[in-house]
């Protein structure tokens, strides 16, 4: 056996080592050591994130390992690094919450579960065999249910966890059904083999193929909360602890989007126009529009961001539909920017929730008068999510539209036009938050002035720096383009 192929998995292996370190120190350390577990995890994870940026040990091209079951390439390393940065911010932002009275006993478990789900996401993105992929998917989904239920004393948290686990299991079942069809059609679970036999099978078994693909897409659609598979999203986002919600909305969604791209392009790339182009058209239009329309009426900010994240997922899908390298880079860049913008918003929501437990939009009335910095951070996050220049969200939206139009058909122009009109609807509800903070007068419900914890501030500063810098500094997008070989 060639042991050097383990080198290709350097990120997975070091993540496992990191997990074991955290697990052991949590288990065997004294009570005093237990208190520093959060800080320890952050530091270790920071080092791990840096380690991910070190060049891959064996060459920089695509490397496969274990008979082609596992693959890594510069693009995959890049998306893992992007997710790592996001996870690091989530970890830093969650320090205050995990140190709170109710959580402090079980805080170690939070970090362990989180690292395990990240491991699962790595496998989802790197797997080139559906068995590996499904293991990764389960590994990424099931611990999340425990994390959603982490606020043991709150009823909503339990309800959310129950909803999450049921939908996760159900969607896995649907996905497996689809995969069994694919196996029946092609006789293999390797991505490459399936794609090869798809070419010959595409004409004769197209109906069967479309059915199989519909199952696969709906299974993944649950994970990505695409409409019409989005029904769990709002309740889970609202019920889960804010740190878990932010993790769910950016990291889980980002990894699922990339895995979706890999599967659609590598496995089903041959049958683009026959089988999934039109499915994706419908999904994108539904996701963006319905996510937006439901977001307008929300008063709870976590629920509000849940619907906003549904519509953002629709925009992310635009990177897939173009079916070109530019789209892959645009999708990764969109995820990167989305991580920073959404985490800034969740950072503010979390800070205010930790301080006084308020999450309703009316509580934010006149926030600029009482907590100007939080209000400005929130405003930047909203502008970035809405795609207003010079903030990063504008660039990511522009690039994802550009990459989609590169496909060139008239239908894609119509699709992008619908997406663009939807950005106006989304601008309306993002502005509602800005209006509450800046324009409305403060009333008795307004959050009183307070100073947020140092860790929360660090998290928000990093996010603000990202929102301001990621777009204007062209290096980020240029290097993503070079990573995908554009």
């Amino acid at each position: 056996m060639d042991y050097s192929q383990f080198l290709a998995m350097k990120q997975e292996i070091s993540l496992l080592v990191l997990f074991l370190l955290v697990f052991l120190s949590d288990t065997f350390a004294s009570n005093r050591g237990c208190k520093t577990i959060g800080g320890l995890t952050c530091v270790l994870f920071g080092l791990f994130t840096l380690w991910g940026f070190c060049p891959v040990v064996i060459g920089s091209d695509t490397v496969t390992a274990f008979e082609g079951m596992y693959e890594t390439s510069p693009a995959i390393v890049a998306i893992k690094n992007i997710l790592n940065v996001g996870v690091l911010i989530v970890l830093i932002q969650s320090l205050k919450w995990t140190a709170s009275e109710n959580q402090v006993i079980r805080r170690g478990e939070f970090y362990e579960l989180l690292l395990l789900t990240l491991f699962g996401m790595y496998l989802m993105m790197s797997g080139r065999h559906f068995l590996v992929f499904v293991i990764g998917l389960e590994c990424a989904s099931l611990p999340l249910a425990a994390m959603v239920a982490f606020n043991k004393h709150r009823y909503e948290s339990h309800e959310a966890a129950a909803k999450y686990i049921l939908t996760a299991v159900f969607s896995s079942a649907v996905l497996l059904m689809g995969l069994s069809f694919v196996y029946g059609l092609t006789g293999s679970l390797y991505y490459g083999h399936i794609a090869d036999s798809m070419f010959s099978a595409s004409t004769s078994n197209i109906v069967m193929l479309v059915v199989a693909l519909a199952f696969v897409i709906s299974g993944l659609g649950f994970k990505l909360s695409l409409v019409p598979f989005h029904l769990w999203t709002a309740d889970v986002y609202q019920g889960a602890p804010t740190s878990v919600t932010s993790y769910l909305s950016v990291i889980s969604k980002g990894s699922a989007a990339f895995a979706f791209l890999v599967i659609l392009w590598q496995v089903f790339g041959q049958v683009y126009s026959e089988a999934w182009e039109w499915m994706l058209y419908a999904l994108i239009i539904l996701t963006i529009t319905i996510g937006n329309l439901f977001a307008i009426r929300q008063q709870n900010l976590k629920r509000f961001l849940a619907f906003s994240s549904i519509s953002q997922a629709g925009y992310i899908m635009l990177g897939i539909i173009g079916d070109n390298a530019m789209g892959e880079a645009a999708l990764m860049f969109y995820i990167l920017v989305y991580i920073f913008s959404n985490l800034a918003a969740f950072g503010v929501i979390g800070a205010i929730e930790n301080n006084c437990g308020k999450v309703s939009m009316t509580d934010y009335n006149g926030l600029y008068k009482t907590n100007p910095r939080l209000a400005v951070t929130m405003m930047l996050a909203m502008f970035s999510l809405a795609g207003i220049p010079p903030f990063a969200g504008f660039f990511s939206k522009f690039f994802i539209f550009t990459s989609a139009i590169n496909q060139g058909s008239v239908a894609i122009y119509v699709l992008v036009l619908i997406a663009l009109i939807n950005t106006i609807i989304s601008l309306y509800y993002y502005l509602l938050v800005v209006k509450a903070m800046f324009i409305k007068e403060e009333d008795e419900f307004t959050v009183a002035p307070f100073r947020s914890a140092l860790t929360e501030r660090i998290g928000m500063w990093v996010c603000v720096a990202g929102i301001l810098g990621l777009g204007l500094v062209s290096w980020f997008y240029d290097s993503l383009l070079s990573v995908v070989g554009f």
């Binding site: 502008f383 207003i388 220049p389 010079p390 504008f394 522009f398 690039f399 539209f401 550009t402 139009i405 590169n406 060139g408 122009y413 992008v416 036009l417 663009l420 009109i421 950005t423 106006i424 601008l427 309306y428 502005l431 800005v434 209006k435 800046f438 324009i439 062209s474 997008y477 240029d478 383009l481 070079s482 554009f486």
Partner: protein, 502 residues
Amino acid sequence: MFSNILIYFVVIPVIMLAGLALCRNIKQIRAVAVTGSLALTALSIYLLVDYLGLRAAGHTEQMLFTGAWDWFKPLHIQLAVGVDGISVAMLILSSIILLTGSFASWKINPLPKEFFLWLILLSTGVFGFFISIDLFTMFMFYEVALIPMYLLIGVWGSGNKNYSAMKLTLMLMGGSAFLMLGLIGIYYHSSANPETLTWNLLEISQNGAISKGWQYFLFPMTFVGFGVLGAMFPFHTWSPDGHASAPTAVSMLHAGVLMKLGGYGCFRVAIYLMPEAANDLAWIFLILTGISVVYGAFSACVQTDLKYINAYSSVSHCGLVLFAILMLNTTAMTGAIMQMLSHGLMTALFFALIGMIYGRTHTRDITKMGGLMKIMPFLAVCYVIAGMASLGLPGLSGFVAEMTIFVGSFEHADMFHRVFTIVACCSIVITAVYILRVVGKLLLGPVQDEHHLKLTDAEWWERTATVTLIISVAAIGCFPNFFADLIRWTFSSDIFSVIGMN
């Protein structure tokens, strides 16, 4: 990069933003705002002199002071700058209005620092837009100029400000949604060779690679996109509400400069890059802008709120800009640019005066005011001058602009154009009706409210703002040839020969 003079039109506002962030009190804020906008004015006048010098020395390029620096290289996005006579004129207009706007908001309250931060961010967008010749950069600056309006109106506005701010932002952003699609479409058809696609305006017009079929699709997208900001019927409805609710300096900048972004963009992007489609489709938009011209003027006649009157008058005058651009001949287009300058200065003067009067009387309803000529003679006389400029008195800017437009429009010999020209001409008469009605009601006649008798006349900063604007208005009126020559250069280029323009 920093050896190019144009870059400083963006650098100075950015420095101003940083300076404002450090300010501690209102005096420092005023100092930063006035120093910065004076520097911008000086820079734009220096640019004008330099530009004329280069043209006199025989430089015949389409754009001068060009420079391009790679930004997103794989996508061919550059930070490309360059100016011709039109841009120079627009830069001067913007800097003068920013300067006078700073004076007009001398006593802004509350949150003066935030007010100026947003105002300067808005001007950064405006200046960046006028110097850019790269479609991406241009569009970015365009949107940078739009979004501050929401907070400027929402926080510092008056009346039904929440509604107006949201309506204005969403409508303008709706326009830019179409625009974005149009621009991306232009990019993908900018060159016959997919390796050399470009966002650069000059290169796209030289390549001339946009096929006629695509022009028919992309021209309406971009024209409507910019036309929303140019208050084209039926997308003008944000304008009256927005202007009426906005604070003084914001109304000035918005009507004076921001609406010019619309007209400028329609010309520079839609017509300049797609002249064939412009020639074929102009009639649709001529009808729409013709409606703007007349409808705006009639609406102004029945309003009683000073700001609404002026906002509808802006719809009418800006409609005239687009109307003239669509005539597609040198005379009318020169007139269009003159009208942009003229309307920018004149309407800024109007809004400044309305703000000053409102600051004293606390009402903008003309039925509740009267005889202000006796109480505040300086402001009243300025108002009359602004009114005269608006209705086209020779010697002031409105006359030369409108005259040029109508002469140019009448050069078309066919029935359709002539009829529409005559209809648009009628707006001059209607303008006279509503201007004289306001002057008579507001300034002359008996004093309506005895409290008004105690009011004072203009302070020094208000005098500075109004006198600067009046001088500019008179300068265009007295030396029209200077400005016409500055502008006309652009239209002599051969891109318009495609459509047989004279």
